[in-house]
Structures are given as structure tokens and as C-alpha cells.
Amino acid sequence: MIHLHNLRRIDPQHPTSAAQVNGVTDDIWLDQGRIVAAPDSPQNCESIDLGGKTVMAGAIDIHSHIAGGKMNLGKQLMTADRHLQKFGKRGRLRSGNGFATPVASTTAYRYLAMGYTMAFEPAMVGVNSRGCHREMGDIPLLDRGAYIMLGNDDFLLRLLQTKAEQGRINDYVGWMIARTRAMGVKIVNPGGISAFKFNKRNLGLDTPCPHYDSVTPRQIVYSLCRAVYELGLSFPLHLHCNDLGIPGNVATTLATIKAAEGYPLHLTHLQFHSYGAEGKRQFSSAAEQIAEAVNSNPNVTVDVGQIAFGHTVTASGDTMIQYINSAHADPKRFVCMDIECDGGCGVVPFRYRDQNFVNALQWAIGLELFLLIKDPWRIFLTTDHPNGAPFTVYPNLIRLLMEPDYRRQCLSQIHPAAQKATVLGSLDRAYSLEEIAILTRAGPARILGLEDHGSLKIGAVADIVVYEERPNLEDYFALPQMVFRRGLLVARNGEIINDRILPDGVTHWIEPDYDRSIEKEVKAFFDRYMAIDYMNYGLNGERLYGKPIDFIRHSPKRRIA
């Protein structure tokens, strides 16, 4: 048992916990991986006086490309990245490397050093799910999960084309989630990845899909929003809209919000979808319009996908857009793949430059969204790692949100025309520590339905971060004094503990209730069209071999029978 005392608790999920009501805010007891009530007579207890330091729950990244085939391609393409942040094996810790494309060990150690104890891969291709889970299983210490990519898979498009009932779509979505052991459902460019395979280079929200002429992206968005809701998933449909990165895509984004028809909808990396086409450069910020729409549609949540200046790699399932982006590859190399009638991927190295007008304005647009969207429970802190920037820039991003003066100072250094094209300089909002805790742990835990995470309540998993005063807020969030995962100290001042065996990470997934008769239809499709057998697709429980993966299964309750 560990007793942390003399601390300042920041726990937005439970601001009126019993301890606070009683004015006793300075004690947390950890035992067997959980936060527990104060024992009557503590025995074998290690007591740690925190001297008034701030304590929060472990942070959770809801959208970070930490695994999967496209990230392996990214690692292979980013050859120079292999020389960055290289370290050898130390004690129990594996060796590693990588800045924009960290390998499995580096991913875990960098996240934990910053106080993140959980991260979710947001674009798992079904046919790659076995490999994705294997890779996530090799990420030590960090809890994780993945969202299954749908909306360009031919089985779904055939269901929609033949006007299948919503219930049948729900059953298929339920089967896919369960078979691939996913934690949520993602669409990348609804219909667009499939359209690119037919040589279409853009696809509007109401444009019929090639080959599937009765299907539009709007229908795909609506039917999957409904499926996710009716299956009872906590996390709404996770949507990467059509027209990512295209000037003027604000119209598509606003129309997509309407396409959900009030069903819960999560718009991911919203920064890339908040562009106007005004001005002589025909690229402008539409953050105010987008923020207003988010503020007035309570069914909508968002993560930002903030960019940071520097070198990274963009890796996405969106082959249509990534092929366009390949013209800007730096260095000049890219990979695009069509994948198994299931999806696709595009991997393009990229450098964001502060003296490039477009990049500079992208940076400002992301911050505008953070500052203009009012409800911190409906916005999440992401860089779409590594697409906007590696997740290691989070501490700097938090400082930008909390310190208006620092923000203005940074604004004054970007491309002059971009400074004039943004309202950022006029925004005085400063995020509080409490709001940062909402953005980075309480909010993510709540939207993911992880009741045992993201808070310091009694009974919660003891993922705990102790922050120490540092010269500036960036260091404060980059180097927490202590990070506990499941009640054990795993990092201290940015260094991972390496002299003892630490518990491995677990993979979260959900198993919705669905009508199993859909499996016969799916099997017939596989038998007829697929070069992989139905039995071998995803993670069929009858065919799990090799290194065990510690899974935690969640069972949502259907909202519609």
C-alpha cells in the first residue's frame, strides 16, 4: 500500500468527492493497483509526503497513431528518424529510437514520462487488426486500444447499396468491432478511399460513390453514427470528414455535422477540416464558424489535431488525400496502398514551417479552435500524432493554451500574413489546470466509457501523476515528478523505472451485442471475394496464437433492441 499525502488534487470528474467535502484534500491511498479508501490501521504502507504538489489521474490520448501497418511504413520511410532519440537497453527497458515515428518501446516510455498512461490507435484496418494488436502488445507498460476503420469497406457499401435495414448494418458493425477487438468505430473520408480505387480524386458529401451509385458519403456517415449509437457504444462515431486539408472544406464539415441528424458524432483532427478559401492565397481560417457549430450542437465532440512546426510524417487511411499531399512530401518519397477491399493507407513525410503561410495559419487555426470551443468536456487535446506533430509536443501545446502572453509571443514569430489572417492574437482565454485535466484525462475517460480511469475517485485504477513546480509550464507537463501506473511507480522526473519488472499494458476492447446471423452473410462474402479466409480475418478467438495479449473486454448495453 502507498499513501500519498499533502497534495493538491485536481479531479474534474469528482470535484465534490467525500475528501474534498470534508476539507481533507491531501490523501490518496493506493493498493493492489487501485485507489482505495483510507485504511483503519495501515500496515506495510509506504508514505510519501508530496509537499503540496498537484496530483491528477493518468492522461489519456484518444487519437494517436501508435500502431498498425501505416505506422510501420512510416518508420521505414523515416530513415533519418532512426538516429533520433536513440537509446540502448537499460535494465528491464528495451532499446528504441524515433522522434516522429517512435518504435514500440519509445512510444511507451515517452508517453509515460509525460504522465500519459493510455493511448488509442484511431485507424485500424480490419484486415490488419491482428498485426495492429501484435504491435500494440509490444508497446510496454501503456494501456491502449484501437478504433476499427469502416465506411470504405466493400461489404458495408454493398449493404448500403442494397438498402439493407439499419439493424443489419448494426449487426455488421457489431461483428466487425468484436472480430477486430476494437474500442470504437472510425470513418476515414467516407466513401473516398473506395472512390480513389476507381480513380476518383474527390468525393463530395452528396456525390454518389463510384460503383455504388445509390450510396453517398452522407448516408455512410448517418448509418454508422446510428449503428454506433444503437449498439450502445460510449464513444460516438469517430469521423475524419471528406475533403481533409482542402481550402474551403468548412462547408463539408458543417454539412457533415448536419448529416449526423443529431446522433452523437466525434469530429477528429478538426483543425484539418476548418479551412476557408478566402483571401489572395485562397486559404483562410474558418475556425470561428466551426467553433460556433460545435458550440451549438451538443451531440458533437471534437479533437483538434494541432500542428507544430518541424519534421514529421503524415500517415492516414485517406489514400485519396494523401496522394494529393504526396506533392509536398519532404523528403520526396511516399507510399500509398489500396488494402484488401477494406481501406487504404497513405504515408507522406512532411515538414511544417512557421514561415510558410499555410502551415503558419494551420497552427493558428488549431489554437483558435481550442480557444473558441467553449465546453472543455467536448474538446480533446491531440496532434493526430504524428500527422500534426509527434505527441511529445503536448507540454508545449498545453503551455500555449494556458499562457496568453506566451501564445502571443509565438504568434509574433510566424509568417506575417498568417498573423493577420487569424484572430488568435485577440483571444485572451487561458485554460486553467482544471480544464487541462478535463481535456487530457477526465474528458477522454468519460467519452470512452472508462469509468475506472481519468479520475482519482476511490475504486479508480491507480494511474496517477504528480506534478512538480518547474521554471515554465512546458517543463511542468513534460517532466512530472512521479507517474504511477496501476499503483506502481513507473516514471520519475521523465526517467522510466528500469530496475524491476513492471506490469505490462492492457488492450481495451468492446464486444457489442449483435445478431450472429450476420456472420453467415459475411462468410459468404469472404468465400466469394476475399483472398483471406473468414476464419482468419481479425482476431478470431479460435485462432489466437503466439504471445499472449492482456485484453480487457467492455460490454456495452444496446440502446435499440
Binding site: K75, Q76, K89, G96, V335, M337, C345
Partner: protein, 434 residues
């Protein structure tokens, strides 16, 4: 000496269905049981892989003498402990085996490489220029033109055409695609019946020049003038332009006389695809991995960032394209210990002056093992135990159930158990953390 039991044929109801074959990078997973045997669907590699074997498990060996598993592991650990420069050559095992191999190698240092000299050829081109590629089910459903480059791919990839190309039922095409080969013609008797196949005969030594000319033609202008194109190539270029989803397939093992020429040839193929993609779809399908070298490359990439040829140094994993080639280091005498993993296809061991630990399946020839100090006879994936392998199209990992499940913890153990046990012994012997 341990008692060895003959593997009993399990009851029919226990036979997995379907069966997956790890024999080549196609990893066909549509094989089935037929009258007590695995129906290989006409594939000689699968037929050989699953050929009936009722021999008793072969013993583990130390200096040629049978020993029990624990002793063999002890000897293996002691050799690894004192090695100055161990070198691990795989894949030859499933994904779990690769994971454990890397954990051990990371702990003690040394070089890790696959046997494949083909995968690095494709990988070098991809890492330097990228590519636009596709996967098997896309070929099956979309390809309306297949262009084979180089020699006859069927000896290495027996069901490439019969399984992925010659199908009549697909989502987006009404008949099998035309197949055009630029290279050495496939003998007619090897072709699937009724396939629309034509060859433009090009000698291996002329493949590079031919692709150079095709690229120049597609670039137009001065390029075209500099490199006149054979009329048949002009027709090929026009045929490609009229197709909806042409797929260019190459086997880097069967392309040009030398690896360097093959790299340049693949470079040209990537450029052809990139030149045409602004106006049409065209994709590549590189064939590059058997022996689970592709699966090994995936695990190595996500664990170290290097898909092949890495050196675990105290400062972290490093890789040099030429310096860290495992087989070359073996030949040069750089290494003093060779850990040879070959439990899928029994590849012969290279000449080596140092000590050898052989981790091999029961089908591995005894005559080869006289040079090994320690031999660990492990289970073979898909025969003795289940596992996973990477398919050649790189994004698909195929589960491989055990057709004759006979693996145990002492006889025919899994490769991952062997490496885990060796690592545990090293940790215990040091009394400290590795």
C-alpha cells in the same frame, strides 16, 4: 534421453479448417483436409510442406549426441553468454518466435538478419522512393490487366495466377484480367487453363534497359528521343493506359541478373507507376518474402525501426545497409556465434568457423547438423503448433493453425519458448538484470 512419441493423427474433428500454408509469402489459407491429407490445391510447396510424416520426434543434440531439452537450453545459453559477436539469422519461425528472438538479441547485443536477400531489395527502393502498391484481394477483385516483370514467378509463388488472377467471380470485373509478361515466358502447361496470357520476351540481362526505355517513353520529350522503344513496348504502354486497374507484379528474386540491377529495375517500375497515377490508377505488387521474412520485417520495424539487418549496440539498434548484412558477416568471420533459426523451410547453413546453435524443425537434414554445437529441434508452425506469419503484401498477418498438433514443452517446443527459456537462463546466471 527423453522418450519420444510418434505423433498420432488427431481425430478428423480436430483438424483445423481451413489450413494455412507458411511455405511462401502468398500464405494461402484456403487449404483443407482430404482423406487424411492436406489438399495442397496443386501447390508443390504446400504439398512438400504438409507431406505426411509419422517419424518420431528428432532429439535435441549437443555435439551430435542426443540430450534432453533442458540440457540443450543450458548449453545454448552458455554459448550465447560468452559470445563476443552473436549473429541471429531468421525468420524461419512465426511472429512469436521473432518477438522472442529480438528480446534475447536486445538483451545481449549482436546482429539480427533474415535469410532473405530479396526483401532488402524491395525495401531499399521503398525506403528511398516509396511506392504505390496493392494487396491480394484488390488484385482478385479489381485487376483488369496484370503485367508480370522478369522471370517465371510460379516456381517461387505457385498459386499466384491460379488463386489471385484467374478467378472468374469478382466484385468489379466480369472476367479474369489479361496477363502480359515482360521477361521470360511461363511454359504453357504451368498456366491456369483459359488464362489470356501473352509474353514479350526479354532476356534477364535486358530487363533493366527495357524498363529504362519504357520509363523514358512515358516521360516523353527528350527522354523519349534518348531511348527508342521497341514497338511491342509501345503497345504495352498503350494497353496499360487503357486499363482501369493494372497491376505490375515483380519477384525481386527473379528480375535481373544482379541485386543492383534489380534495385534499379524496381526503381523504374515505381517511376512508371508514379508517372501514370496522376491520370489513372496503376499499382504495384512486390513479391518479396517467404520463410516469414515479411513477418519478421514487420516485427523488427515496430520494435526497432529497421526492417532488416540490424545491430543491437549498447547505444541502441543500428543498421547499415552493407555492414550489418547477417550472412555476409557470417562469411567474413566477424561473428563468433551463429544462431540459425530455420523451422519453416529447411535452408542449408552457411559456411561458418565459429560455434553454431541450430534451431530447426524435424525435417532439417541431420547431415547439415554435424556442424552445429547445439541443436534444438523445435515444432514447425502449421504442423506441430499454431502461429502467425506475415503475407507478402505486408499488411496481412495470417494465423496458421496446427495441422498435426504434436508440439509439447519438451519435444518440438515452439521457437518463442526456446528463446524465452534461454533469456531466463541468462538472467538467472548473471544474478542481475539484463
Amino acid at each position: 534421453m527423453i522418450t519420444l512419441n510418434s505423433p498420432a493423427t488427431p481425430p478428423a474433428t480436430l483438424h483445423p479448417d481451413p489450413i494455412s500454408c507458411p511455405g511462401c509469402g502468398l500464405a494461402c489459407d484456403d487449404l483443407s483436409w482430404n482423406d487424411g491429407h492436406v489438399d495442397s490445391r496443386g501447390c508443390p510447396i504446400a504439398a512438400d510442406y504438409f507431406k505426411p510424416s509419422h517419424a518420431a520426434p528428432m532429439p535435441h543434440l549437443f555435439e551430435g549426441k542426443p540430450i534432453d531439452l533442458n540440457s540443450a537450453l543450458d548449453f545454448a545459453a552458455s554459448l550465447i553468454k560468452v559470445a563476443r559477436m552473436p549473429i541471429f539469422i531468421g525468420g524461419g519461425c512465426d511472429i512469436a518466435g521473432v518477438q522472442s528472438l529480438l528480446a534475447l538479441a536486445d538483451s545481449i547485443g549482436g546482429v539480427v538478419d533474415s535469410r532473405s536477400r530479396i526483401l532488402p531489395i524491395n525495401m531499399q527502393v521503398m525506403q528511398e522512393n516509396g511506392w504505390i502498391a496493392t494487396t491480394f484481394s484488390e488484385v482478385y477483385n479489381r485487376a483488369d490487366l496484370v503485367i508480370l516483370i522478369g522471370g517465371n514467378p510460379l516456381p517461387n509463388w505457385p498459386r499466384l495466377l491460379s488463386r489471385l488472377v484467374a478467378n472468374h467471380d469478382s466484385m468489379f470485373r466480369t472476367r479474369p484480367p489479361q496477363v502480359l509478361q515482360l521477361g521470360t515466358a511461363i511454359p504453357p502447361e504451368q498456366l491456369p487453363q483459359g488464362l489470356d496470357y501473352q509474353a514479350i520476351t526479354v532476356e534477364p540481362s535486358e530487363i533493366l534497359n527495357t524498363l529504362s526505355a519504357l520509363t523514358a517513353h512515358l516521360k516523353g520529350g527528350a527522354w523519349r528521343e534518348a531511348s527508342p522503344v521497341h514497338p511491342e513496348l509501345l503497345q504495352l504502354a498503350e494497353r496499360i493506359k487503357s486499363a482501369h486497374y493494372p497491376v505490375v507484379i515483380w519477384d525481386a528474386a527473379n528480375l535481373c541478373p544482379t541485386a543492383t540491377e534489380s534495385i534499379l529495375a524496381i526503381d523504374y517500375l515505381g517511376e512508371v507507376i508514379r508517372l501514370l497515377t496522376p491520370s489513372q490508377r496503376i499499382v504495384g505488387l512486390p513479391l518479396s518474402s517467404s520463410d516469414n521474412a515479411g513477418g519478421m520485417a514487420s516485427v523488427m520495424t515496430w520494435q526497432t525501426g529497421f526492417p532488416n539487418r540490424l545491430f543491437y549496440t549498447p547505444e541502441g539498434p543500428e543498421s547499415h545497409r552493407y555492414r550489418d548484412q547477417g550472412l555476409e558477416r557470417v562469411a567474413d568471420g566477424d561473428a563468433d556465434l551463429l544462431v540459425w533459426v530455420s523451422a519453416i523451410t529447411p535452408y542449408p547453413m552457411p559456411e561458418f568457423k565459429g560455434q553454431i546453435i541450430a534451431i530447426v524443425g524435424d525435417d532439417y537434414p541431420e547431415s547439415e547438423l554435424t556442424r552445429a554445437t547445439v541443436t534444438l529441434r523445435v515444432g514447425r508452425i502449421g504442423i506441430d503448433h499454431g502461429g502467425e506469419v506475415g503475407r507478402s503484401d505486408s499488411v496481412v498477418m495470417i494465423p496458421v493453425p496446427a495441422a498435426f498438433p504434436t508440439a509439447s514443452t519438451t519435444e518440438r517446443p515452439r521457437v518463442d519458448l526456446v528463446f524465452n527459456q534461454i533469456l531466463a537462463r541468462l538472467e538467472r546466471s548473471q544474478g542481475a538484470i539484463l
